[in-house]
Amino acid sequence: MHRYASPKTFYPLAGRLIPWFGGATALLLAVGLYYALFVAPPDYQQGESVRIMFIHVPAAWMSMFVYVVMAAAGAAGLVWNVKLTEVLARSCAPIGAWFTVLALATGSLWGKPMWGTWWAWDARITSELILLFLYLGVMALQSAIDDPKRAARAAAILALVGVVNIPIIHFSVEWWNTLHQPASVTRIGRPAIHISLLVPLLIMAVAFMFYFVTVALLRMRNEILERERHTAWVTELIQSADAEPASPVAGNRPRGAAG
């Protein structure tokens, strides 16, 4: 396992994994969208607007999941000083921030027809907005400090402190009297959602999960190149790609060199 934590080993491995995760994402999204838009029946209370749920809920789940991954990767970086976890934490932040934006925006688009308002300062919505600010804070720290090691440490500490917000988001609908409806899938016991709505929701959630892995790997590869530019393998990788157009014989590039 430790071998794969070396950026040099991970870089080509990620390159080989991306098409598989990307393909799985495309397939799951196609099936999920078909179920979400054509198969799922309209809700008996919310009518066709319930279809927003198939975007909103997976985005909200991912916004929290990516945050926990980012904080855990940051913590692992603090404890074990592993470069790859710092790379992972840094790659998670913008993706998680985008999922949070999507959750907030689709929540707003769902809230307007259902509750009659685009926005309410209720506990669920406010804590999700705080999550966005936490992501932005982590990203600001990561980019404001030049030394990647120190940047990763500062961002990891902020991310770890912000983890308290995750249970607050999750339990906000139980602890406070919110405009936001209570959890219907992740509650203990039987989910309060009909199977015909649950199936597309879960497919979309898995699709979003595969999507996250795909784009995280893409970002991690860029991050690795940047951070490892002083190493021999990155120098060779970039320069062999650089020399390629001048090469007299086409196709004599060493296999895998362009990664």
Binding site: P42, H56, L218, L225
Partner: protein
């Protein structure tokens, strides 16, 4: 069910389709940004190595 019913979404068409459109934009953006990032990182590193070679 006709296509116009489908697009109307029981009167919620604007909210439903804006949500799906936003999702498409966000998902596409997070693929495009790292792919463009890959190009800029590689270009920057190429220039960086060239500069180092010339000033060695």
């Amino acid at each position: 069910m006709s296509w116009s019913d489908f697009f109307a979404m029981g009167g919620y068409g604007f909210y439903v389709w804006t949500s799906y459109l936003l999702a498409a934009v966000v998902l596409a953006l997070n693929v495009i940004l790292p792919l463009r990032g890959r190009k800029t990182v590689r270009a920057r590193l190429r220039a960086y190595y060239r500069f180092n070679r010339q000033n060695r």
